[in-house]
Symmetry: C2
Subunit: 322 residues, 2 copies
């Protein structure tokens, strides 16, 4: 029987047993948010409570793909069955370069590693729904850790990295990264900072800037979210230097949030955020349904004719959301 024709429960069983093609197919259903997505989520959710989810984010050019590759290589050597979810900007302009990185990552990864690229566009309901769904299935199939690599630029990408158990922010000398990280809200997200390209001049300046910002945010209470002060690790993704220290720091963070109850809280929050994001998609659909309803055409005509203000029209229509 071809894998294409397998019922979802059988496909899921095969994926859990280690069939990578079956897993790939499950993930495609999840990404497409098609009719199989909900049944797959129901099967995966009970099994998905254990793996460690690590977000790795940073500005373009920070070397985070190469660094993720080094980490993946190390995890293979440690005998861990890791998965990487690489969230690509969908721009055809940068697609080529990113594909290059992917190929390099597959070169260094152990055969047990599962690598999946995901475009940032083309998901019904958006990345914010697709990523947790994919992570859930990877967890359920025994991949641990699951690394989510995203470019720290758009709000969505930042949000996605921020829903991990441990979020690593990669900075680099010569990019004014301290300031950049702060602007993009990455500072508040980081559980761990990595200063990559540590052999370059200015690496220690970046370290000092980050330290200073952590002092400030500590003073103003910004990192009371965890009560932990993020460590700063120096790496060189090209040589692999610092990758073991990075992994140890990730493990330390995990141990700390497990001990203080944060891990459980984060996972609970992550599920609530997913429910909320799904509800927002449903609500938007409902709004568009109301706007295009025959019964409201006259009201919108009156807005265009300037006899009713938009705020008034919206209040009237909004009553049907209840």
């Amino acid at each position: 029987m071809s894998i294409r024709d397998l019922p979802i429960p059988d496909l899921f069983e095969r994926a859990v047993e280690g069939d990578r093609r079956a897993l790939g197919r499950l993930l495609t259903h999840i990404e497409r948010e098609n009719e199989h997505a909900a049944p797959i989520a129901e099967l995966a959710h009970p099994l998905a409570g254990t793996g460690h989810v690590v977000g790795i984010t940073g500005a373009p050019g920070s070397g985070k793909s190469t660094l993720t590759g080094q980490l993946v290589k190390l995890l293979g050597e440690l005998g861990l069955r890791a998965a990487v979810l690489a969230v690509d900007p969908s721009s055809p302009l940068t697609g080529g370069a990113i594909l290059g990185d992917r190929v390099r990552m597959e070169d260094v990864a152990s055969p047990e590693t599962f690598i999946r690229s995901m475009a940032t566009r083309g998901h019904q309901g958006g990345l914010a729904l697709a990523v947790p769904g994919v992570v859930r299935v990877l967890n359920a199939c025994g991949y641990n850790p699951v690394l989510i690599e995203t470019v720290g630029v758009g709000q969505v990408e930042v949000d996605v990295a921020g829903t991990a158990d441990t979020t690593v922010v990669v900075a680099t000398p010569g990019m004014g990264d301290g300031v950049q990280a702060n602007k993009a809200g990455l500072l508040e997200l980081a559980d761990l900072f990595v200063v990559n390209k540590a052999d370059r001049p200015g690496a220690n300046d970046v370290r000092r800037d980050l330290d200073l910002m952590l002092d400030l945010s500590h003073a103003t209470g910004q990192d009371q979210r965890t009560g932990l002060r993020p460590e700063i690790i120096m790496t060189s993704a090209l040589t692999g230097e610092g990758a073991p220290e990075m992994w140890e720091a990730i493990e330390r963070h995990r141990a700390a949030i497990t001990a203080n109850g944060q891990l459980e809280q984060r996972r609970r929050d992550r599920d609530v955020v997913e429910v909320r994001n799904r509800l927002l998609v449903a609500a938007e659909r409902r709004v568009d349904e109301l706007l295009s309803a025959e019964s409201h055409a006259d009201l919108l005509d009156r807005v265009a004719a300037r006899s009713v203000a938009p705020a008034t029209a919206s209040s009237e229509i909004a009553q049907q959301l209840h």
Copy 2:
């Protein structure tokens, strides 16, 4: 009677008669989305159908603030009563520089010009609601044109610039602006391109790049929205060179979209988008109400306990949106 104590209709009347303090107070109500915002919108909407709304956007450093200042100076000389709505990024890091630009703009503007700065954060319901409300009141008080200056970076800022009657995208040599504009979706928005710093080397390259991209988008039908090919104007904001040509091109665009019915359609679309944005805010509020309802606590607990998947929980709650 102090202006603070005036009833809204009286305050509105004063603003229409030219009282700038009264106008400032109205705008504060609108920005705060407080209980006076809807009555003010009702008063302003019938009067707001005539002024020309011009969006001016571009990357940071493109000189669009200085260029807007030159345009404002010119409009004063032409005897036009212009208003500028400058949408500032709220980052305290860049706030200083922008304030500097504002001061310069006020130096060159005629006393009749009304200049308002708006932070990008801190608006209930967001910039997408506050901007059309402010523009409506400025129009109703006889300001024409109303220039909206936004930094072409975030999606919201781009959206705001895109709801103008005429959207001007400012590019600059040496920033790879052609590519930048394309990435940010600015290319599709532009009714008019301005290549600023035209005295710098590379200005003609930028012009050629933009021309090429317009050829491509024309070939693929991208600018069928208006049927008009955007003009490309060369300016030097520092000397003021090109500002009259820029204004003439804006006027030509206005005349063209008035003639082909686009102007009316754009305004209608803008109102519908505002109604929709307001409905989305109401819908989000409703979603949060449902999520925090006592009756759903048990369902969310079951999600946390991994016996119900988030998608299933969301479908169940979503039924109450109807």
